[in-house]
């Protein structure tokens, strides 16, 4: 590991001031950052440890029925917060389908939003990677890219954002609270991550030194609690990143869909909300036919970036699955295999 400064600020203001120095990085649980540093992928000159910054670890109910989640709240603490899980079950399910219990016990909200892609060429300093080094080229383009993006990618970068947590968050209209030298600002999560375009090294709208202090879900997001699911396809039953994943939240009125919230994971450089597909469902009767139309709309623009054409059809199918499960109603308890196709689904007829 390279030599770096380590500072442990005592307030948000101190943290932001400390991180103003170029080459700084915030350290949350370090489950991603420290791996990247050990691999020589990131070499920050200064680590600004958020461990002692007060006010970042609360889960607060908001007057509008929403919730404000501090940036340092642990993934497990959030998922197991009964009030939170009841109001935002798909978010809890997504959190619990991520990584392993040990990682979830450490990983934080802010770190999860800002975790880097799992593109293997990004992690390998000997490979060309535009994200790691602007202008270097992209070895994934002609390489091992089975699991790369099918939406929103560019010739410069075909990587995906690997977060599960962000998928239901973006569907539910989460807002990111950001603190910088110039003060506080807010950005909808949907606009927080950037598509690669010609600058894949810039992954979010954060300016250097800006700090995520919290993520907010609006009160109306709890309106989907009765019909909200997350489904994640993996290459083993647990402890694997999504091949593709999907979330669906439905508000049903008189047996019809009043409002739908849909997003896909593992398909693009950001959690991929699909307003086109949501629009298809507005007013529709829940059912296989409507769900498939929504899925077609969601993937209309998709194209393979390599050996991954299968992900397009898979994404359609998993969206249909998420919708089918959501329409059947959020289960009383989260399944023991959260978000898994192998979790039992009593009372739902999935496969004809």
């Amino acid at each position: 590991m390279n030599r770096f400064d380590y500072v442990r600020p005592a307030t948000v203001a101190e943290a932001v001031a400390a991180a103003a120095q170029p080459g700084s990085a915030y350290l949350a649980a370090g489950t991603n950052l420290l791996d990247l540093m050990k691999g020589g992928v990131m070499r920050p000159a200064r680590l600004v440890d958020l461990a002692r910054v007060p006010g970042l670890d609360a889960i607060e109910a908001l007057p509008d029925g929403g919730v404000r989640i501090g940036a340092r709240v642990r993934n497990s603490d959030l998922a197991y917060d009964p009030g939170f899980a009841r109001r935002f079950p798909a978010v809890a399910e997504a959190l619990l389908s991520g990584a392993s219990a040990q990682l979830r016990n450490a990983a934080t909200v802010g770190g999860n939003l800002l975790q880097r892609t799992r593109c293997a060429y990004f992690y390998d300093p000997a490979s060309a990677c535009n994200k790691r080094e602007a202008g270097a080229g992209c070895d994934a383009r002609e390489g091992e890219n089975r699991l790369h993006a099918v939406l929103g990618w560019s010739e410069q970068c075909i990587a995906t954002h690997p977060s599960d947590f962000c998928v239901p968050l973006v569907a539910l209209g989460a807002v990111v609270e950001i603190e910088g030298q110039a003060g506080r600002r807010e950005v909808p999560l949907e606009e927080f991550h950037r598509l690669p375009g010609t600058t894949p090294e810039r992954e979010s709208v954060l300016a250097p030194g800006e700090l995520i202090v919290a993520v907010r879900l609006p009160g109306e997001a709890a309106g989907f609690a009765g019909h909200a699911r997350y489904v994640k396809l993996r290459e083993r039953t647990s402890y694997a990143f999504a091949v593709v994943s999907a979330t669906a939240g439905l508000r049903l009125e008189d047996g019809a869909i009043a409002e739908a919230r849909l997003a896909l994971g593992g398909v693009a450089a950001k959690p991929w909300r699909v307003p086109e597909a949501e629009a298809v469902l507005r007013g529709a009767r829940p059912g296989a036919e409507a769900f498939r139309r929504a899925a077609e709309a969601a993937l209309a623009e998709a194209r393979p970036s390599g050996d991954n054409a299968f992900k397009i059809e898979l994404a359609r199918r998993i969206l249909v699955r998420a919708l089918t499960l959501a329409a059947a109603g959020t289960p009383e308890r989260l399944p023991a295999l959260p978000a898994s196709p192998h979790a039992p689904h009593p009372g739902v007829s999935l496969h004809g």
Binding site: M1, N2, R3, K38, G40, S100, R118, A120, Y121, D124, P125, A126, S127, D139, E142, G143, E144, R146, L233, R234, E235, R236, T237, S238, Y239, A240, V243, F310, E313, L314, R317, I318, V320, R321, L337, S340, P341, H342, P344, H345, P346, V348, S349, L350, H351, G352
Partner: protein
């Protein structure tokens, strides 16, 4: 020597052998008291880190030595320029167990991950950063990375000296005459051992004496290799290896990086510790080679095989030889008048492949079991019935009878326990209550009953206790316990009266912990050493007029619970302690040897067998697979400790799931780099992937393999299991996937 705590009191009925004792080292391990190689920190110790190549072929043209040396804490940088001299060329090859090593002999690069320099520093962090600062520059050459790259050739031998071609009968005639034929190509990927404990060495020199802590599956072999390389007498090398955090074959021969740690200690004149990082285990410490196997089968109108041809394309490295012997399973498993196994290979710019748990059998079994299943389906026969139809009563290629073979019982007990009967013949017929596709598959397990060469020493002491020593290796499988059980019985002592020592190169050579032969080999040596002591003690007593055993000569004596008694009257006898006291001896010693019985070997084919039944569930739209139930029934001769043996079977069966569904090195074909060289993305099963496992120990008495009747259990569990899982996927989905691990996209065709 490590202190072994005895575990909680157990009820012992009769002999120790056969008792399901828990691991004697279990307590040490769960409390962190077991000292693994890297836990040793001799005074003055420095840390070494490897700088490894990122190209697969070429030369190192530059290293930024200045930057590395200038880094605070760095003591030395070892390169080909200053590496201490060796007495042997690391490229010399003196036998099939000796592998060429990269010990900084020159600037050549042979594979990605090859060590190109070693940085030695006061701290691990400084060494690691120093290694990064070297930033090697290369003159790279074009690389071969796939089984289709380059000219294929027929290797002189496969595995350890086995013929590359075996022919029995006329396969082409058998195929021509067949009522039905199946031809199928199966592909298996490169796999890496990924033992939990990385290869590690702590080396300290004192003059020309060398003391090493390092995990080893073959202590005496390692001593020989190290002594040869450094030009010192073997007795000057001491290796301590009380515990291994897994080996699976990758710690059989000492590896290049371990020797580099020893060289580093020599260079700086202080003890040095070198531990591989996880990603550094994907190159210099071996792997299972990829294969492409073509199976051609013919059957007559009754479903009896008329011909079986198993062709294996595999790969070795460009600079050394190890050819995965995948055809071996076809020599023994199914009866056929004509059987041929053939091999060819290409050379790749990778590290040299090596033995990996069930080398050859694992990769060969999944292909053979798949093809057999395809033929059963083609014949419209139940796959178990088809296997029984083609049951080998004698070993098909050699014609020898089996020393024992309870495979029929394995099939029967496994099928009964699994509930095989009633399985629909056609695929895609079963669903669970959630609508998931359900499939059942079967596979036959087989592994040869081998023996190496091993020795042991046994001692009876005046206080009546015993000591047994052998340089055996506990890779985590429970050898400390199983050997102590055999030792206790060999001396007719309760196990708590017995001290057992192993894991040290100064002890008698126990052979290699490999080939599933360790229990039989070292066990027989222990058995012999115990018998030798008892015989000497009996001699003392029977020739001493003051002993109640005097004159028992013709009737003979037997050892029982620390006493010798007359065989014809067990009420007459005396304790070991009394005999030794009267003779004025503090202790009495015996020696034993374990080795293959050549005569028996000539007359009998010796193999362990098993039958594995698997259930998988597959999501019909999404293709995600989960193995939900595995039942294995295995017959492997005498079972020394059923608890430990069951664990070996479980571990093997889980590896079978891994082989079929999860495990593969993703190699970039342009560069030869393994792109998933970490345990996050090199997938092996997690708990959720293996919900229900059962291993049945089928009784089998084998009077021929060795006096104890022990076959091996360490590797057989993978064979059969991998095929059973893959066959179950076919039965669930109707899709025959012949490329492993089975990928989601292969199953998406038909929702």
């Amino acid at each position: 020597m490590a202190e072994l705590a005895s575990s909680a009191a157990h009820v012992r009925h009769g002999s120790s052998i056969g008792q399901p004792l828990t691991r004697r080292d279990g307590q040490l391990k769960v409390t962190g008291g077991a000292r693994y190689a890297a836990d040793n920190h001799p005074p003055g110790m420095l840390h070494a880190a490897l700088a490894v190549s990122s190209v697969a072929r070429g030369r190192v043209t530059g290293l930024d030595l200045e930057a590395a040396r200038a880094h605070p804490g760095v003591v030395a940088v070892m390169t080909p320029e200053n590496r201490p001299a060796l007495a042997q060329d690391p490229n010399d090859k003196s036998g099939p167990f000796v592998f060429r090593m990269e010990l900084l002999q020159d600037d050549t690069v042979r594979y990605v991950g090859q060590p190109v320099a070693v940085v030695i520093a006061e701290t691990l962090e400084a060494a690691t950063e120093g290694a990064a600062l070297l930033a090697p520059r290369y003159a790279a050459e074009p690389v071969s990375t796939g089984l289709e790259d380059g000219e294929a050739f027929v290797p002189p031998a496969v595995g350890v000296g086995a013929p590359a071609e075996v022919r029995h009968g006329d396969v082409e005639a058998g195929l021509a005459a067949a009522a039905r034929r199946v031809e199928a190509v199966y592909e298996t990927p490169a796999q890496y051992h990924n033992a939990m404990e990385p290869h590690a060495v702590v080396a300290a020199w004192e003059g020309d004496r060398l003391s090493i802590d390092t995990p080893s599956q073959g202590l005496v072999m390692a001593v020989g290799r190290v002594a040869g390389l450094f030009g010192i007498p073997p007795e000057n090398v001491e290796i301590r290896s009380p515990f291994l955090g897994g080996g699976f074959g990758s710690k059989g021969a000492i590896s290049g990086p371990q020797v580099l740690g020893i060289l580093a200690a020599k260079l700086v004149g202080r003890p040095v510790k070198l531990v591989l990082k996880r990603d550094q285990m994907y190159g210099p410490v071996g792997h299972r080679a990829p294969t492409r196997q073509t199976l051609r089968l013919g059957v007559d109108g009754e479903g009896a095989l008329t011909a079986l041809h198993h062709h294996v394309r595999t790969a070795s490295s460009r600079y050394d030889d190890f050819f995965e012997p995948s055809g071996s399973v076809s020599h023994t498993l199914y009866a056929s008048p004509a059987i041929a196994t053939t091999s060819d290979a290409v050379r790749l710019d990778s590290g040299t492949p090596i033995f990996m748990r069930a080398p050859g059998e694992a990769s060969g079994s999944i292909a053979l079991e798949g093809a057999i299943d395809e033929m059963a389906a083609a014949c419209g026969m139940d796959p178990l019935e088809f296997r029984l139809r083609n049951y080998a009563e004698v070993e098909p290629t050699s014609g020898k009878p089996f020393s024992s073979k309870a495979l029929r019982e394995c099939y029967a007990q496994g099928a009964e326990r699994f509930g095989w009967s009633g399985r629909p013949l056609a695929p895609r017929q079963m669903r669970d209550e959630d609508g998931l596709l359900v499939g059942w598959g079967v596979g036959t397990a087989t592994f040869p009953a081998l023996m190496m060469h091993g020795q042991a020493r046994a001692v009876l002491r005046r206080d009546g206790s015993g000591l047994v020593e052998t340089g055996a290796h506990d890779m985590g499988q429970g050898a400390w316990t199983a050997f102590a059980q055999i030792a206790a019985d060999s001396l007719a002592l309760p196990i708590d009266q017995l001290e057992f020592r192993a894991g040290h190169s100064g002890l008698p050579d126990a052979g290699i912990a490999g080939g599933s032969a360790h229990t039989a080999t070292a066990g027989m040596a222990i058995h012999g050493a115990g018998a030798d002591v008892i015989a000497r003690l009996a001699e003392l007593a029977m020739t001493d007029q003051r002993s109640p055993l005097f004159g028992a000569g013709n009737a003979g004596v037997v050892a029982r619970e620390g006493r010798l008694v007359r065989r014809d009257d067990e009420s007459r006898g005396e304790s070991y302690a009394e005999i030794l006291a009267r003779a004025g001896l503090d202790e009495i010693e015996g020696r034993g040897t374990g080795a293959m019985d050549q005569a028996a070997q000539e007359h009998y084919a010796m193999h362990a067998h098993g039958a594995v039944f698997a259930e998988v569930k597959v999501d019909p739209e999404l293709g995600q697979i989960r193995a939900t139930r595995l039942v294995g029934a295995f017959a492997a001769g005498r079972i020394i400790n059923p608890r430990l043996v069951r664990s070996q079977y479980y571990g093997g069966m889980i590896w079978g799931v891994s082989f079929a569904l999860h495990e593969a090195a993703v190699v970039d074909r342009r560069t030869g780099r393994v792109m998933n060289a970490n345990l996050g993305e090199y997938h092996v099963p997690v708990n959720a992937d293996v919900p229900s496992l059962e291993a049945i120990l089928v009784d089998e008495v084998d009077p021929h393999v060795n006096a104890l009747g022990i076959k091996g259990v360490g590797e057989i569990g993978i064979t059969g299991s991998a095929g059973a899982v893959a066959n179950a996927v076919w039965h669930a989905t109707g899709v025959r996937v012949r490329r492993f691990p089975i990928a989601i996209e292969e199953l998406l065709g038909q929702p």
